[in-house]
Amino acid sequence: MTTAVAGASMTQRRTRDFAAIGIAAALAVTAAMASLVIGPIAIPPQRVAAILFGFLDGTATAGRDAVVVLDVRLPRTVLGVLVGASTALAGAVMQGLFRNPLADPGVVGVSSGAGLAAALWFILGAGLGNLVPWNLGTLGLPLSAFAGGLIVSATLHLLSRREGQTSATLLLLAGIAIGAFTSAGVGVLVFIASEQQLREFTFWTLGSLGGATSTKIALVLPFALAFMAVAPRLARGLDALALGEAEAFHLGIDVERLKRVAVIGVAAAVGASVAVSGVVGFVGLITPHVVRLVIGPAHRLLLPVTALAGATFLVTADIVARTIAAPSEIPLGVITAGVGAPFMLWLLLRQGLAQQLR
C-alpha cells in the first residue's frame, strides 16, 4: 500500500457499494416473488411467472389463478414494497437527522400522529370529501395523515432543540408525550366510533396490507417515489451532521435546509404509508440498525440498502401475517413488533456484551 492511498480506495468502495445494493435488491426481489407465490391457494411459481408476463405484454390470462395473482397478491406486494421501503428509509433519515439511533417515526410519535389525523378524517372528515368534485375527496385521507405526521415532526424538532443542538432526552420525552396525547385522541375516537369504525381502528393501530388496491398504490406511490428521489441528496449532509450541526455548517452543509427537507420528506412518506397501511411499528426503527451493523453508517450506502431491506422485511412479515393463521389474518404490526422487538433486544444484549468484552 502506498502512503497516498489510506485504506480502501474510492473505486474499491464503489465496488463494495454496488455489491451491497445488489444483494439487498436480490433479497427484496426474492421476497416479492415469494409473496406472489405463497398463499392459501397454491399456485406454482411457473404459473405465477406466466401470469405476470401475460399481464406485462397485455395478453391477460383469464381464470381464478390470474385473479388471485394480479388482483390480490400483486397489489399487496407492491404496497408492501412501497410502504416497507419508505418507512425504513424514514427511520434512517430521522436517526441521522436527530443524531440518535432511538429516533424513529414510530417511537417519537410521527406515525401515531399521522394515524390519529387519518382516523380523524375517517370519522369526522370523510363527509367533507364528498363535497369535493371528481374523486379528489379520496386525497383527504393521505393528506390528513401527511399533515398529522408533519405537525408531529415539526413540533418535535422545535421542542428538542437547545442552543443549536438536538437533545436526545428532550426528543424522547417530547415523543413520548406526543404519543400519549395521540393515544388519548384515539381513545376519544374509539368512544364515539361505531362498530364498523372500531374494526377499522385495529387496522390503524396495528397496520395491514389487506385491502391493497391500485388506488392505494396510486396514493402512496408519488410520496414514496419523491422521498426516495430526495433522500440520496441528503446523504452527505446527514453524514456531516453526525459531527454536530456546527461542524456540518463548517463543512459546507446548509443545515437548516437539510433539516427542513428531511422533516417534510419523512412526514410525507410516513403520512402516505400510514394512510394506506396503518401504523406498522418497528420497521423504521430496526431496519436501519441492522443495516448499519452490516455495512456501516455512511448514508450514501445506508439509505438505498435500508430502503431495500425495509421492503424485504415488510413483504416477508406480510407473508407470515396472512399464512400463519390462514384463512384469518394476523395484523401486520403484530408480526413486525413480535419478531422485531425480540431481535432488537438480542442486538442490544450482544452489543452490550461486546462492549464489556472490549
Partner: protein
C-alpha cells in the same frame, strides 16, 4: 486577507463581543487569548461566518461574507473545534472524506484523504472506527479532515480556524496539532487559533490578540505580552518563571 471590522455579537440578548477587530494575513498565525468568557470563541465563530454579528463586517479578500452560503464559506475556511462527539460508527477515513466536496473525482479524493491522514500520522487507521481510537487519535483524525478540506479547495488563500484545538491533548499530541498549524501557515494559508496556554500561544503566534470582557485589550507580537498585562487580564499575578518547561514546537 480575512478581516473582521468592528464586530459586535449578542447571544441571548447579551452583548458578548464589542467592536472587535481582527486581521489574518496569508501565511500568518494569529492567536486569541483571554479568560473564559472573554469572547475568544465568539470572535472565531463570527470570523468563520457561523455567527451573525449585530454590528461590523467580516470580509475575505475584501468581500463581505455575510451573504455567503455554507458551501462558499467552506471553500475558503476550515474550522477545527476542541472536541467532536460522534454517535455512529464511522471510520477515520469516512470522517476525513467529509472534508472533500462530492463533486471531486475518485482518485483525487483518495490522494487528498491519504495525504491528510499521513500528515497527522494516522494513515494506518483509515479503516478503523473512530470510537476505537483514543481521544488524541480522534482529534488527529478531525485535524486530517480539516487538512483535507483545505487541500480540496486549493487555489485561493485558505483560512484555518482552530477553536481550542489542544484541550484534552497530552504534550505530544498538542505538539502534533500545533506543528500542523505551522505547516498550514507555511503553505500560505492564514491561521487563527484560540488557545488557553499563554506560553504555547507565545511560542507559535506571529500575532497575539488579547480579549477581556468581550473587547480586544491588546494586540501585537508575542513580545508584547508582559506579566503586568496578563495579570490585569486574568486577574491573577503572573511572573516570568526561569525553569518553565513546554514541548518543543520547532
Amino acid at each position: 486577507m480575512l478581516e473582521a471590522r468592528g464586530i459586535s455579537v449578542q447571544l441571548s440578548g447579551r452583548e458578548v463581543l464589542t467592536d472587535a477587530d481582527l486581521t489574518i494575513a496569508p501565511g500568518r498565525i494569529v492567536v486569541l487569548i483571554g479568560p473564559n468568557g472573554a469572547g475568544k470563541s465568539t470572535l472565531l465563530r463570527a470570523a468563520a461566518g457561523a455567527l451573525k454579528p449585530v454590528r461590523g463586517t467580516v470580509t475575505i479578500d475584501g468581500k463581505n461574507i455575510s451573504g455567503w452560503s455554507a458551501a462558499m464559506l467552506a471553500a475558503r475556511r476550515a474550522v477545527l473545534a476542541q472536541s467532536v462527539t460522534l454517535t455512529m460508527a464511522y471510520t477515520a477515513g469516512e470522517i476525513v472524506r467529509l472534508g472533500v466536496p462530492v463533486s471531486m473525482r475518485n482518485h483525487e479524493v483518495d490522494t487528498i484523504v491519504g495525504e491528510a491522514l499521513a500528515a497527522v500520522e494516522m494513515a494506518h487507521a483509515a479503516e478503523r472506527l473512530i470510537s476505537a481510537l483514543s481521544g488524541g487519535e480522534q482529534q488527529r483524525v478531525h485535524a486530517a479532515r480539516v487538512l483535507a478540506q483545505i487541500a480540496a479547495h486549493r487555489g485561493p488563500t485558505q483560512y484555518l480556524l482552530l477553536d481550542e484545538p489542544t484541550t484534552h491533548l497530552d504534550p505530544a499530541q498538542q505538539r502534533t496539532v500545533l506543528q500542523l498549524a505551522r505547516r498550514v501557515a507555511a503553505s500560505g494559508a492564514g491561521v487563527l487559533a484560540v488557545l488557553h496556554d499563554v506560553n504555547v500561544a507565545a511560542a507559535i503566534a506571529d500575532e497575539i490578540v488579547v480579549l477581556s470582557n468581550g473587547r480586544v485589550v491588546e494586540r501585537g507580537s508575542p513580545a508584547a505580552l508582559t506579566p503586568e498585562l496578563l495579570g490585569r487580564v486574568y486577574g491573577v499575578p503572573f511572573h516570568i518563571a526561569e525553569s518553565a518547561m513546554m514541548p518543543n514546537l520547532a
